[in-house]
């Protein structure tokens, strides 16, 4: 990967990686750190990274960094509490987008990552499996459970769309 290709990757994918991380961590500074680390690793390993695979490389590094960050800072508890609060706030809202965002916050980080990689980035099960370290069957099962969970959230009377 050349310098120009690297800079093109920044232009094309920095926003996507940032969105992916920010929606999981819900903390701008931490998301920024993760994104910068991901691109820094890609720059260091640019000789080994093909330009056609730079996006999946970025998401793989960002996902691992994000999981490490969550485990290190134990943000899971904080996140769950925050999700409950947000759910309460959003009870009054009937906006589909906000309700879906609230539903997304009820998922665990793995399920949320799978849903975002699928919906935002359009990866298939195989590619998601490579990014997250799961096999395609696991991705399928986890993703379907996440969908059912989102569905259950959206059809509840207090979250009626």
């Amino acid at each position: 990967m050349t310098e120009q290709e690297y800079n093109e990757c920044v232009t094309l994918y920095a926003d996507n990686v940032y969105r992916f991380v920010l929606k999981n961590l819900r903390h701008e500074e931490d998301a920024r750190d993760v994104v910068q680390t991901a691109f820094e690793k890609m720059w260091v390993n640019r000789q080994q990274v093909e330009n056609s695979r730079c996006k999946s490389f970025l998401f793989t590094v960002a996902y691992n960094q994000m999981i490490d960050h969550i485990r290190k800072n134990k943000r899971v508890v904080l996140k769950d509490e925050f999700g409950e609060t947000e759910k309460t706030i959003n009870r009054q809202q009937h906006d589909v987008k906000k309700a879906l965002q609230a539903a997304l916050n009820t998922l665990n980080e793995t399920q949320r990552s799978l849903v975002m990689l699928k919906d935002y980035e359009g990866y298939n099960y195989e590619e998601i499996g490579k990014i997250t370290g799961l096999n395609a069957s696991q991705v399928k099962v986890y993703l379907h459970r996440a969908r059912l969970q989102l569905r259950e959230y959206l059809v509840k009377p207090e979250n009626v769309i």
Binding site: M116, Y120, Y125
Partner: protein, 372 residues
């Protein structure tokens, strides 16, 4: 067959598996009662039997049909939503959704669980991620620097010499052409004075011989003044021949170059005449005469600036016919870029300051310096 101490193991295994008939079961129980030492062995065999465990399947709801949709259809709906279903399954799902209201409602809800791709979040620190290399740095070694210095130095030296030669070339070229008519006039009046001047002028003529332009420019004048054959236009001999011709008023060529001059120089009266001539020179001729006086080979080069300055001071005296050639050289110089530029500056300064140079001073940077 009756049970006894030799075959009781077979009866015990069948007993714990409840495979004995009721009669044999009673016979086994009677045998245990008669032989209590074998009761412990029967208990051990009975403990080896696995008892049934109660395990409850906790995800029964996933297997149940919900809202009239069986789980297999639900899975196909979700695969279709993810774009992972095969073409056949996708077609099947679309047909079911069109026909079945429950499936259509479920499909609508599932579609709402899909995140919107247009939900853009811009990373605001993108500029920090861009990399820009500083480019290739080439170390300049000492010999490269030395070579560069030599080239620059040679270029400067050549350029300065070229400019210098351009300026001096025009000026020097005009010297003989300017002086020659005067000399001829004077030779016609006083041969002694003429010869003295000629000896001073001769080096100047020799200097001009080195420049082809000067020789070429001078040739027609010589032809007019002294109708010599073209074969006598050799530079070294030509000037002395002209001088000798002027002195002797003959068109015949001298046999040697030095003999007439030596005669003239040896004449003591010439020096006296020279002294008597000098005061007669007018103010306009001062610069001219001084140029003539200083026209020794060494002085020519060192006094080039002085000659130019002298010519510049005589620019105003356009009435004097003797400087016609001088004006022509000025015209040539003014035609050159630098000359024209300098002249323009000079005129502008004179116009702005309303000052004009007098004959006996040169103004440089609006300061007056006495020439005397």
């Amino acid at each position: 067959m009756l049970i006894n101490r030799n075959n009781y193991e077979e009866f015990f295994l069948l007993y714990i598996d409840k495979e004995l008939s009721p009669a044999d079961t009673e016979a086994v129980e009677a045998f245990i009662a008669a032989n209590p030492d074998l009761a412990a062995e029967l208990n051990l065999l009975q403990q080896s039997i696995a008892l049934p465990e109660t395990k409850e399947f906790t995800h029964k709801e996933n297997l149940l049909a919900q809202n009239g949709i069986i789980p297999s259809l639900m899975e196909k709906l979700m695969l279709h939503l993810d774009g992972e279903a095969s073409a056949v399954d996708s077609l099947l799902v679309e047909q079911v959704v069109q026909k079945d209201k429950n499936a259509a409602a479920e499909w609508t809800i599932l579609q709402q669980t899909k995140l919107d791709k247009a939900d853009n979040i811009v990373f605001p620190y993108k500029q920090q991620l861009y990399k820009k290399s500083t480019g290739r740095v080439v170390a300049i070694r000492w010999w490269r620097m030395a070579a560069a210095a030599i080239v620059i130095g040679f270029g400067l030296f050549t350029g300065i010499n070229f400019l210098k030669n351009n300026n001096t070339g025009h000026s020097v070229a005009s010297v003989p052409a300017t002086v020659t008519p005067g000399l001829k006039n004077e030779t016609s009046i006083d041969p002694a004075n003429k010869t003295t001047l000629n000896t001073a002028i001769q080096p100047a003529n020799n200097t001009t011989q080195n420049t082809p332009l000067t020789a070429a420019a001078r040739q027609p004048q010589q032809t007019k003044a002294n109708p010599l054959p073209p074969s006598y236009t050799q530079p070294a001999q030509k000037n002395t021949d002209v001088l000798a011709t002027a002195q002797q008023k003959q068109n015949t060529l001298p046999t040697t170059n030095a003999s007439p001059l030596e005669k003239i120089n040896n004449n003591a009266s010439n020096n006296l005449d020279m002294a008597s001539v000098t005061p007669v020179v007018t103010n306009n001729d001062i610069a001219k005469i001084e140029v003539v006086k200083s026209n020794t080979p060494a002085a020519i080069q060192t006094n080039t600036l002085a000659i130019n300055t002298a010519f510049n001071t005589t620019d105003e005296d356009e009435d004097d016919g003797r400087y016609a050639v001088n004006d022509e050289s000025d015209n040539k110089r003014s035609r050159s870029k630098i000359g024209g530029f300098l002249k323009k500056i000079k005129r502008t300064i004179e116009r702005k300051t309303n000052t004009a140079n007098s004959d006996d001073e040169i103004k440089i940077a609006n300061l007056s310096f006495a020439v005397h």
